[in-house]
Symmetry: C2
Subunit: 305 residues, 2 copies
DNA sequence: CCTGATTTATGCAAGAATGCATGGATTGGA
DNA sequence: TCCAATCCATGCATTCTTGCATAAATCAGG
């Protein structure tokens, strides 16, 4: 243990680093000031101050608005790490705070319940021991207004004005099948080669079939010898070699028991929304779970565990 | 790109996080105040402020001195991440600063020149494009006073009062040999089994032999059929299967062409010092290289690339 | 070309953080 | 047991930062 560390290099004003970070991310001093609930001149002075303190020009004053210099973008990555650590610190702190105790129910589709939520819940248990989590696994659009869940992960924008939503990003799904079935099927180079393939169906049958045909997959009802209303069952049936299934790209790619039928096609894109009661957002423990979900979901969906 | 990010969780006072970090690392408010060139009451108030801001008690006031609470230690890891990022930011900034341009010569032993310095130089080239680096590879104790090098990595504490030194940590070396030679040698379970082994010698012969015998290795001059004054040549001779060589544990463990002769024995421990002119420490570009070395060396020596 | 909206920069008063000096408390050793 | 050293907490004058109001500058669109 080195007792006498040299702190001179961390002796600059960290708040100015924060000013630099959110100014760069938001794109302008005014927007950053709004985001931080501060006055715009304050942020401008902080940015100028850190520029002088570090001896580096971070932004080029080009007309209205600022533009990152090359040095600024190189320094921004470190400011981002600081920001992420600050966010983690803040989240973990509100978790440790004895004020947040109680129960939070998260609703998600079946596949998300087994694919993304376990990690999130594990992390939540670490940073907020006082919170108990309930996972409501359902393919139905869970009714938040009836308190079946406090937070829901959905694939559509919420339309109810009482609900507040946050767009996390886009997830994508594609065709997967077990290696054994792919061997039986023979080589597949285009979607047209799937005319005689077996598919494992799930959910609303006609809607599903229509979507596939819209993508140029030449299939009919005869291509569905197996079928389940449960998405997890559908997934396991595909894994058992009974045909081609559909699931999130990141989930299938991470599963050694499944391979993509085609490397890139087809690509089903759908948005991922976090939804909650507008009033519940102010509840500290729901707010904590919300923030942790918003922090972790993008990484998980992009398949970077 | 999500345009409207939520910055509320990074909206706390980052300087207070810094106060928390160095107070925890230094162990007391007074020591932290000295390290940061601040007054002790200031730091005390900042720590109290962040405790109230986060709603978490970070320190237990126990007599004289503070003691981290459990929540505090859990939050400290995030503060450490912030601090490391802040240090990287600061270093990269002084590197980008156009003030630091010129030449810096680093002296190191032959093995360190090929094992640790390449990574450091690569990193330096990234964060400080204006600095050119010269690696002075020499087993001799390079004379800093004659300007053969600006910074030296040594294994002894500098005794000259004009030189300033910083202890990086301890490195350790042990016996390595190629798989082919280990097979030829047969099973080895204790140091006594090495009485008939071939060693590759290097450096001062008698001193080397004495040190080995002091470790309880039963060898004589007859055990040294091969020998080189160059440490890198000695290393490559061992890699070529000509006998047992000695080198840093982390370096040998990372080399697929070499295995340890014995899993833990013998363990040669030696300190690693960074040395420079006292006056040169104030030179910004030398200071930058010094700081980067101090930051990277511990990780490299412990074999965590 | 001109207008309106939006941005960055500056002046000034209020507020907050800082440093110094000091008091109170605890530990370790003579 | 007492003393010296060390540490944390508090009061107060000073310095620094912040926020508001406003000016100057730039871009988009009619």
């Amino acid at each position: 243990m080195q007792e006498c560390m040299d702190w001179t290099s961390v002796n600059f004003d960290w708040n100015r680093a924060r000013a630099f970070l959110v100014t760069a991310e938001e794109g302008s001093l005014s927007a950053a000031a709004r985001a931080l609930n501060m006055a715009q001149p304050t942020l401008g002075r902080q940015v100028s101050a850190i520029e002088e303190e570090l001896g580096v020009t971070l932004f080029e004053r080009v007309g209205r608005g600022l533009e990152l210099t090359e040095a600024g973008s190189r320094l921004l990555v470190h400011a981002r790490t600081m920001g992420e650590a600050a966010q983690s610190l803040s989240l973990a702190a509100t978790g440790q705070s004895k004020a947040v105790e109680g129960h939070v129910a998260i609703s998600a589709t079946e596949l998300y319940s087994v694919w993304v939520l376990p990690r999130v819940v594990r992390h939540l248990r670490n940073i907020a021991p006082g919170i108990t989590i309930e996972v409501v696994s359902s393919n139905e659009i869970s009714d938040l207004k009836r308190r079946e869940a406090d937070i829901a992960i959905r694939n559509t924008r919420p339309d109810d004005p009482d609900l507040i939503g946050k767009l996390i990003g886009n997830d994508s799904g594609t065709f997967f099948a077990s290696p054994s079935y792919l061997e039986k099927l023979g080589p597949v180079s285009t979607l047209a080669d799937l005319a005689d393939a077996d598919f494992v169906g799930f959910g609303e049958f006609d809607e599903f079939l229509g979507a596939l045909q819209g993508f140029g997959v030449p299939i009919t009802k005869a291509n569905f010898p197996t079928r389940s209303a449960s998405h997890t069952a559908h997934w396991d049936l595909a894994k058992a070699g009974l045909g081609i299934g559909i699931g999130p790209c990141a989930m299938g790619d991470a599963d050694p028991g499944l391979h993509r039928v085609l490397p890139t096609e087809p690509q089903f894109e759908y948005p991922v929304w976090l939804v909650a009661h507008r009033e519940l957002r102010t509840n500290p423990r729901v707010r904590l779970v919300w923030d942790v979900l918003a922090e972790m979901l993008p990484g998980i969906l992009q398949g970077t565990p």
